[in-house]
């Protein structure tokens, strides 16, 4: 009964495909990326990829989902530890900066889907955006319950924080700033956001 081993091998292959797909899609974009090349780089035959994913689009979408899960996990881990809102916001910037650096392909392929023109891909990326915002909203609510701040529109505030953090990291990278230069902005950004919210609610 080689089921367990099989399942493991299968999952490993699947992950290898997703990884190579992220690499190719990040390098060339959806249309220019070559499925056959992805298969080759994943060390499998070109027909095999279709045993794991229905077609090129499905592979792309599932790759987006995979990225989403991974990045969200990183984010949650970064914000799990308690602390002041200032500290947590700083950690948010650092988390985004690290993600963008360490898993650059995934970060960029996700952002390009979110802001690209393909509606289907944008819809999928937007799902993850909602999750990001939920994570941010969650720490805002914790701070609010702790009497740290007083917020009227949690949703919009979360979106402003998202712009000030993830979008900032993205723009900074596009402009060629290093991770170090970006992380150095963490405290300033946290400060900016905090005062934008209206600290010391009490």
């Amino acid at each position: 009964m080689p089921k367990i081993v099989d399942a493991q091998i299968r999952e490993a292959t699947r992950q290898r495909i997703l990884r190579e797909a992220a690499r190719e899609f990040a390098r060339l974009g959806f249309d220019q990326a070559n499925i056959n090349l992805i298969a080759e780089q994943a060390g499998i035959g070109k027909g095999t990829i279709y045993l794991y994913f229905e077609n090129k689009r499905a592979l792309f979408i599932e790759m987006l989902r995979s990225i989403a899960q991974s990045q969200l996990a990183s984010l949650r881990a970064a914000l799990a530890e308690k602390g002041t809102l200032q500290q947590r916001l700083e950690r948010l910037v650092l988390a985004f900066a690290r993600m963008a650096e360490e898993d650059s392909d995934s970060f960029h392929v996700y952002m390009s889907s979110l802001y690209g023109v393909n509606r289907a891909f944008q819809a999928e990326a937007t799902k993850q955006l909602h999750e990001y915002l939920a994570v941010i909203a969650h720490i805002l609510e914790e701070s609010q319950q702790a009497g740290e701040i007083q917020i009227e529109d949690v949703e919009m505030t979360a979106l402003r924080i998202f712009s000030a953090t993830e979008s900032f990291v993205l723009s900074a990278r596009v402009l060629g700033y290093t991770e170090q230069e970006i992380t150095r902005q963490a405290s300033v950004i946290a400060h900016q956001v905090l005062h934008g919210i209206g600290v010391h609610a009490g």
Copy 2:
């Protein structure tokens, strides 16, 4: 000597091509967009487009430049009038929101180039980003000279403002917020940015 008329006709055709290109590229992205269709919609033969642009990539790049000029002009017009920094930052958000609404195609095709995976397109879009930042830096310096604020790193501050404004507008649109809902955030964003900078430097 029909030179002047010819030149005018030629320029008009060029503009028509650029307009239709923006529409198609915004609708389908670079790869999926069809050059022949753009030519047809511009009312010219499909060979003619190559008398105006070297190839599809060149057309895309020049379209980006054209968008850049137009949007930069809007931005400068919006910030030309004097006022407090708070007012000017509010106008910045409003300007981006209006651009995203009224010239939606251009706005999105530009943003998708800036954050997309194609290096050549990103490089071109980045040029415009530098110009945006220069405009923002300019009003910051004016405010600084007026003693309104005190800034250490103008460049990074401008980038933070960019994230808090244009990227915010972009994200908000992706999430489906209306122009009204977005513009309503103008004053809050301006306030957030101002306090992030550290107003009342003195």
Copy 3:
């Protein structure tokens, strides 16, 4: 010693494959038919089919042979009973009409092979055609010996009878005639054929 049972099971599986193959090939033709689907519908794994048939072509050829045997048996049964040549020719038309109706898949897959462009399949189908003709020739010779008719070229006469009977049934079906309408022609066709031969040799 489960030999006998095994052999029975094996033969049953083989027949099931042939039946499903006939169905699929009749539905889609050789190229469009899907081996994996045939295996699935026969209730076996897709690798198993290759334990029974060398490849897709061999399966098709053997299916043709299987059809041939079955149809030839029907034909012989229909003509076994004695009678006048007129009666037997009528029974011939009826036999073809019934075959085309009751085992429509087999009838059409055979005819399409006989008249199709694939030389290998046509060669196989032609073998059966020779057998059909032999059956027809046999009853002609019996009638001849009985002094009923006088024939010069038995082979060509048999072929003319084949055209007037099986090909007639095929064409009529293609045109949408019902079995009833076709069988109603049996006596006329028999009559036509008989007078074509030159009855009452004596």
Copy 4:
């Protein structure tokens, strides 16, 4: 104004494609035939074929139509001349035999469509079959008006004649008979058909 020449060149190219298509389809059948090869043999680029025909299927259908027109013209020409019904029926066999010999590709690709399993192709081929039958029905009616014969069901009679002539030619060719051997049967077949109808109606 090179319109006329252009139209001629265009039509010539179209005919060349149709001719090569008939050759390839006759050689390999629809599925196995290679569009790129047809283009190559027609002396054009592989993209060019799609300027003349929407896709492979459309090319096949139009090829069938083209064959139909051509063969029907041959048939009508063969039967245009007046004569006794016996003479005309003999000419019918000869016409089919000549078509099958001289334009063998067309003849077989048409017959394989008529009797093949592809419904779309069969439907198209059936249209031509109706025309064949109409031509046969026409000479029957002429003979009837001339008091030569008396027929009850013209439609079915025409179909019986079709089987006895075209299908006979087809079967004979499949069996390897030469054109000479086939044409030698013309008078016998005409005789068979005539007596089947019931000559000397009076």
